[in-house]
């Protein structure tokens, strides 16, 4: 069986002119210029690139987060200031009212 299989599956030459056709096609293929730097990067380079990208991403996240926090804090501070001013105004108005009331009372008692 093994010998029969070897006989049935022995190598066959391709049709005449096969090599010439391959050579013609190979010659007509455009020659691609080699990249200056080898595209295949080593594992260390890939790891370095990954770390650099992660660092850039982390910096961006921290910067954007800090900016958002600063804006929120600024708004809160402005609100506090406005509230304080309103309270001061109300205080002043209250004391004026009390003073007027006291004068009226005083006049009536006379």
């Amino acid at each position: 069986m093994h010998d029969e299989l070897r006989d049935a599956l022995r190598r066959v030459e391709p049709p005449d002119g096969f090599a010439e056709r391959v050579m013609r096609k190979a010659a007509s293929e455009p020659v691609r210029p080699k990249p200056a730097v080898d595209a295949r990067r080593s594992k260390t380079e890939w790891r370095g690139m990954l770390v650099a990208r992660l660092a850039i991403a982390a910096t961006l996240v921290i910067t954007i987060g800090a900016g958002a926090w600063y804006q929120a804090e600024e708004r809160r501070r402005e609100g506090e200031e406005a509230k304080r001013q309103v309270l001061v105004s109300l205080n002043i108005a209250g004391s004026k009212l009390r003073e007027v009331q006291m004068r009226i009372n005083h006049e009536q008692e006379r």
Partner: protein
């Protein structure tokens, strides 16, 4: 490109692309032909494989590397091609005749019948049989070419042989 290869290959090896094509054309064409049983598809695949070799010639490190690379690329291309082909009928009268019928002693009818029976095997087992009996590779070498575990290749070969025996007995 040939000069770059010249420094990597042995001094007595043919170095240029044309020599590689002429040396390996029968191997590449026969793997495709015995697997696909279609001369025009086999020629097309063989041409594509050599053009791919032409593009990757700088990456070849030795003559053995070229042989291994060609076997690997050819087998994978053939398997891909047979997956894409929807109907995989093989007619006995389309099974290719050997190139030089006078160089063998076996019964040509029997050989033809055997090739047709091989054509009826499932694709993975068929490729293992082609590499085992055309290229005379060991199961370990076939496993490396096909990227399969050695145990898988061994069981595929055993099952293929059993099937072939049964079919040939029925034929006889």
């Amino acid at each position: 490109m040939g000069s770059a290869l010249a420094t990597q290959f042995d001094a007595d090896e043919p170095l240029d692309f044309e020599s590689l094509v002429r040396r390996h054309q029968a191997m590449v064409f026969s793997i495709a032909l015995h697997f696909l049983h279609d001369r025009s598809a086999a020629e097309e695949i063989a041409q594509d494989v050599f053009l791919q070799l032409h593009r990757h010639l700088d990456a070849m490190q030795s003559a053995d590397h070229v042989t291994f690379w060609l076997r690997r690329v050819t087998t994978h291309r053939c398997i891909d091609y047979s997956r894409r082909r929807r109907f995989d009928f093989v007619w006995l009268d389309r099974v290719p005749e050997p190139a030089a019928p006078g160089t063998h002693t076996a019964d040509p009818l029997l050989s033809r019948r055997l090739r047709a029976t091989i054509a009826s095997l499932p694709a993975p087992a068929r490729m293992a049989v082609v590499l085992r009996y055309q290229e005379d590779l060991t199961p370990e070498e076939i496993a490396r070419v096909l990227d399969r575990p050695v145990a898988t290749v061994k069981s595929q070969l055993q099952r293929a042989l059993k099937l072939l025996r049964e079919k040939m007995v029925r034929y006889a």
